[in-house]
């Protein structure tokens, strides 16, 4: 597992800071097409979204616990998207990672891709002093029976988009709006496990390092202008 042997490949980190979900979704699709065409190396987008709810391909609006009128009042949009999985909340205090990765260069192993995302997250949490693990049959990362990170992936042309959402310090009231993954499970943030504030940027940098180990990347910070390479518009 991982890139401990052989040469590393170069990959780009695209930090977006805070960004709306819909805008970021368009960007993911654009970069996915460019990766598929071989026009860029692997790209890892990191972002913190404004509050939003998304439904994956197994998604059911029954797992939206808040009435539509409440969501509208709060300005929270609901997106139906192509990733696998059910309902997910994104919002402030959550680190979202979208790896745009060509699996043909990483063993064509879709399940292995998800496992690497989980492993990197578990290692990052261990570095912070949080003991977390996997739950068989339920992708994501768990602190005992509470979910700390959600995973939902889309692969076409063997290139990935969508990805991972790690709860660093999310408002618990916002999680009450959904039934995560359609399961009667509780969600938890790193802050609540540790009982202290944890800066999101520090968690992000730790996770990027752990991902780079597992995918054999030399990760280089990049910008929108650079990754779109003049092909924006």
């Amino acid at each position: 597992m991982g890139g401990s042997s052989g040469r590393n490949s170069s990959a780009l980190h695209l930090p977006l800071g805070r960004a709306d979900y819909g805008w970021t979704l368009d960007l993911q699709r654009t970069l996915h097409a460019r990766r598929r065409a071989g026009a860029t190396p692997d790209i890892v987008i990191t972002v913190e979204h404004n509050p939003v709810i998304t439904l994956g391909r197994s998604g059911s609006r029954e797992h939206l616990l808040a009435p539509p009128s409440d969501l509208r009042r709060e300005g929270i949009e609901v997106f139906e998207v192509e990733r696998g999985g059910d309902v997910t909340y994104h919002g402030p205090g959550q680190l979202v990672v979208y790896p745009i990765v060509d699996l043909r260069e990483h063993g064509r192993d879709v399940k292995g891709f998800v496992r690497r995302l989980e492993d990197a997250t578990i290692a990052t949490l261990a570095d912070l002093g949080v003991e977390a693990g996997r739950m068989a049959g339920y992708p994501g990362v768990w602190v005992s029976d509470r979910k700390v990170a959600s995973i939902g992936v889309y692969v076409s042309g063997w290139v990935t988009r969508h990805g991972l959402a790690l709860n660093v310090a999310v408002d618990p009231a916002h999680f009450a709006m959904i039934r995560p993954c359609g399961l009667p499970v509780e969600t938890v943030s790193i802050r609540d496990v540790l009982g202290r504030a944890v800066p999101l940027d520090g968690v992000r940098d730790g996770l990027l390092g752990r991902l780079a180990e597992r995918f054999g990347w030399d990760l280089e910070a990049s910008s929108l202008v650079e990754v779109l390479g003049g092909a924006s518009g």
């Binding site: 391909r57 990733r83 399940k111 992936v153 076409s156 042309g157």
Partner: protein, 82 residues
Amino acid sequence: MEKKGIEIRLPDLGEVDEVRVVQWLRGLGDPVAADDDLLEVETEKTTFVVPAPADGRLAEIAAREGTTVERGGLLGRIERAK
């Protein structure tokens, strides 16, 4: 009765035993090119788009939307352009 054409089978996705067919992105009789996006399947939080194995025409849909397909299972068939 021998069936002609190229089989579309579920690729090896790693440790995945079965998937659910979400939707076909091409209809019966449509022309397809190798590596075109053909159908979406889903397993454990991952949507995977199965690519067309060859150029031709989608001649058979063996696994309909909502059905479950095991590793290596038959999804459909492509008839080569003559």
